[in-house]
Amino acid sequence: MALGTGCTARPGRSRENRTGSWRTFRPEFAHDKCTACGMCRQVCPEGCIGEDEEGLPVPDYNYCKGCGLCAEECPAEAIEMKKEEK
């Protein structure tokens, strides 16, 4: 790839770094308890929680660092941090 003159880059390049590999714990989403309030999507520092047609959370585990903020802040306690088996 050509050198970005003046040390520049176009949007999207950070996706090359899959930070999901950092994880020790992984958030599991219990959709039956979820109220689709959107809190987890708001508080995720990675912005890697998407939503389906019903507004239920769809995480992208390629980028989830397992920080646990979503689980901590979920008002319905619908997210549990589970140790990931590698």
Binding site: L3, T5, C7, T8, A9, R10, P11
Partner: protein, 385 residues
């Protein structure tokens, strides 16, 4: 049209004609007449620019950096302490490949504090990646601004530039200037078309950090662009000559150098005094010539070597000193002549505004002929006691 103008006003007038969109400058002696002149033009609707009265030189160049990245033609001017304060931002502008133009009204660096002329300020930033052009007189100072904008905005260059002219000696002196019309300037200098800019319709991130895996390649790329600027300067300088009658295609200029025995090398207003002294010495049958360096960065090593090929000795006048070593120009000239058996002698001269007369030039030539060099010229022994 011929007009008698103060150097600073001639430069301000030229800058106005180049239609900068953003000017950010901080006043510092002896640059003040330029920035005051420009402010006056803006206040009287003669110049349609955003004029930012910044709180320091550091902010001045930072604001120019931002405005240039956003796609505007920018201008600033400074000297000495102000330029030193901009040190960090200078490296930034070059590394980010932003075509910022700055007039440097050369002045000595403190300590001790001095408001008088020498070339230490711009010379001390020779590593920064900025083009450096030096003017011998106010006509050249004026013309080099048009030329510099044209060169730095070329997509093959995209680097910032210093246009240097000696403080007080040129900035505050009235000389006849052959001014261009606005139409003439517009025909030579088209509107700025940035290679890339901050734009929400095409977002780019500027100024990423580079790990050891990438840093060297960026530095090489910038060095390559600066060296390549030499060709762009020549072409633009030649076109200037064809359009307006004053040719600037040569990065160096010889004066009575062809059959010279002793060559003097100098930059800036000193060249005028040297030429007068040479004329006197030539009348006495002494074969002395001048190699004037107009472009110091990129350093025209090949041109210097070619121009000095036939001389017996070279006397380099340095209005600066790399403390602990030698004068910067002498070191580079010596390097350019590496392998040739031509002695290169350096003379630190005229620091802090000390006057140089024709008799001083004659004395330098005598010293060079006696093989005496690499010294501070004209020290007042009684002060040193």
């Amino acid at each position: 049209m011929m007009e008698i103008m103060e150097g600073s006003h001639a430069v301000a007038h030229a800058v106005k004609q180049c239609r900068p969109q953003v000017i950010a400058a901080y006043p510092i002696t002896p640059q003040t007449h330029i920035v005051e002149s420009l402010a006056d033009m803006v206040a009287n609707c003669e110049l349609d620019a955003e004029y930012i009265t910044v709180e320091s030189e550091f902010s001045a160049l930072s604001a120019c950096l931002g405005a240039s990245a956003a796609g505007s033609r920018v201008y600033s001017a400074t000297t000495s302490q102000g330029l030193a304060l901009m040190f960090e931002v200078c490296f930034n502008c070059a590394g980010m490949r932003l075509p910022v133009l700055m007039s440097i009204v050369n002045r000595a660096l403190g300590a001790p504090l001095s408001i008088w002329n020498d070339q230490q300020d711009s010379i001390s930033l020779r590593d920064s990646g900025w083009l450096q052009l030096y003017a011998e007189d106010n006509q050249e100072a004026t013309d080099l601004h048009y030329l510099a904008y044209r060169v730095i905005e070329d997509h093959r260059v995209l680097l910032p530039a210093f246009v240097c002219f000696d403080g007080y000696i040129l900035s505050h002196t009235y000389e006849p200037i052959d001014t261009l019309t606005q139409e003439q300037v517009d025909s030579y200098l088209p509107p700025f078309k940035p290679y890339q800019r901050l734009d929400s319709t095409d977002p780019i991130s500027f100024g990423l950090f580079a790990s050891p895996d990438y840093y060297m390649e960026f530095r090489y790329d910038t060095d390559r662009a600066l060296k390549g600027a030499a060709g762009v300067i020549s072409a633009a300088g030649k076109e200037f000559g064809e359009l307006f009658g004053r040719d600037y295609q040569d990065l160096v200029e010889g004066y009575r150098l062809d059959d010279a025995d002793c060559a003097i090398v100098a930059m800036g207003s000193l060249c005028g005094t040297v030429k007068d002294a040479i004329d006197e010495m030539r009348d006495e049958g002494r074969k002395v010539g001048l190699l004037k360096i107009r472009c110091f960065r990129p350093f025209p090593a090949r041109e210097v070597r070619k121009a000095l090929a036939g001389v017996s000795r070279v006397a380099v006048l340095d209005k600066n000193v790399s403390l602990g070593a030698k004068g910067a120009v002498a070191l580079e000239v010596r390097d350019a002549l590496y392998g040739e058996q031509i002695p290169v002698l350096g003379y630190i001269i005229a620091l802090g505004g000390r006057d140089v007369r024709k008799k001083d030039i004659r004395q330098v030539v005598e010293m060079a002929e006696a093989g005496k060099g690499d010294l501070f010229y004209g020290l007042r022994e009684e002060v040193l006691q």
